[in-house]
Symmetry: C2
Subunit: 247 residues, 2 copies
DNA sequence: GTCCGAAATTGATCCGCATCAACGACCTCA
DNA sequence: TGAGGTCGTTGATGCGGATCAATTTCGGAC
């Protein structure tokens, strides 16, 4: 087994880079990625009064499936797992939320998935009612929300292909490549991938077991595609990973 | 094997019931289910001029993945399969579209899936540009589109659970129950389920092979849950089907 | 440092579904 | 009425990933 170096340091740096120093929307670092990007200065000031910052500890649940939705959240810092449970406990992670993601929109008024903090998480929280009142007559904001919903829908469909039609190795390679791309969009490209989620989380995201995920990581390392390090992986051969992900 | 009676007749009746007689939005039968439900009389009249009716033959492709999106579609009549292909030909059906469904919204300007007519299909077609111009400053329409997008997102996540975490039998039972519920929403409940799509379509929707779908149908019939008839199934024991789907 | 519990890895075995192959049902068309 | 094609069903077999079962590694407390 390869020596492990802390990719957590890199994760820390990454999180610091996108850290919202929180006092004001004006210097919120996730703004360009969030729904707030569509607001002008005056709207932003009004909007600011609707939000309250909140912090969640590792593994804390931010909201649960089927609960009546009372708040919307703008993720400022940290990573969350979004998941659904079957009555017998089987879990499907439907996505990981990164800073800038907007959570809480529902059609039914009840959350259609649960959301946990993975590490420590900072959010902007809005009451549903006041947010809806604010958004009601702002077409540019509505269009922005729409755009994000449609982007998520595209991701969801991509993930359906992965879950329904890809092998374990393809699943893991696809996960690594698309996780890298998501981080890169905010943070710039890097061959060192922090993976703050557990193997179990990855398994439940990919529709596999923890053992299969672990074996597949090991196989990719044997094949020289990745190096497994503490808290993440090093992408040694991105081209090969992409080839596995595409095929 | 059980005798087969034509459920196609029932499907025909179903389709007739929701048939848009097409001349005018005013007597369009899918309106209450579509985005048009949010428009007032004046808007509807303006909107009407933006649309052109079109008909597609069985198996005809309405639009293809990756194509630049030039039109939006309101499905009036018939059923469509929405799917994505991997380079090696593996297919994942990401959904079936029914009358009232609105197709064509993209984040990137390119379709993120392909759409085929299953039987004969009638649509309302809008040019993307004129639709966007029309919708731009109509918050109620934007909210309606949003609502539909979020509903689809919820469905997509539900389907991820199915693809990632359910057994073949659970998948088939879930499919039958939720197909019944979708039809019922428009058409009223019925124990006779028309299945206009092929076994291959069902397999590609559920992440299975055609053989496994066929065997599972047979098993459900042996167990008295369904009766297989021409062009569909008869749901003999809805409660048991729902139990399989829930578990 | 040592101890402890949780997470990850590895190995052995099993099973659900895929694959490969044949057959049957139904349709169209000559 | 029969030939041929497509679709669906059924059977035999194989394999990828699940399951069961140890270890090993890691991180934190002291």
């Amino acid at each position: 087994m390869a020596a492990r170096q802390p990719a957590e340091l890199e994760m820390k740096a990454f999180l610091a880079a996108i850290e919202s120093n929180g006092q004001s929307c004006a210097d919120c670092s996730v703004r360009p990625f969030s729904i707030c990007a569509s607001l002008d200065k005056a709207e932003m000031q009004e909007f600011e009064h609707l939000s309250r910052h909140a912090r969640f500890s590792p593994c804390e649940t931010v909201f649960a499936e089927e609960e009546i939705t009372t708040s919307f959240y703008n993720l400022l810092d940290g990573v969350m797992r979004l998941y659904k449970l079957l009555p017998d406990g089987r879990r499907q992670i439907v996505g990981f939320a990164l800073p800038g993601d907007f959570l809480g929109m529902t059609a039914s008024g009840r959350n259609n998935f649960s959301a946990d903090a993975i590490g420590t998480v900072d959010v902007c929280r809005f009451s549903k009612a006041s947010f809806q009142r604010f958004a009601e007559d702002k077409p540019h904001l509505l269009r922005r929300i729409n755009e994000l919903a449609i982007r998520e829908l595209a991701q969801a469909r991509e993930h359906m292909v992965l879950l329904g039609r890809r092998s374990a190795e393809e699943k893991v390679a696809t996960f690594l490549v698309s996780w890298r791309d998501r981080l890169a969009r905010q943070n710039g490209a890097s061959a060192t991938l922090p993976l703050p989620m557990s193997r179990q989380d990855i398994a439940d995201y990919l529709g596999l077991t923890i053992e299969t995920v672990s074996r597949t990581f090991t196989k990719l390392e044997r094949d020289g595609v990745i190096e497994i390090i503490s808290g993440g992986v090093h992408l040694l051969d991105p081209a090969r990973a992409e080839a596995l992900a595409a095929a």
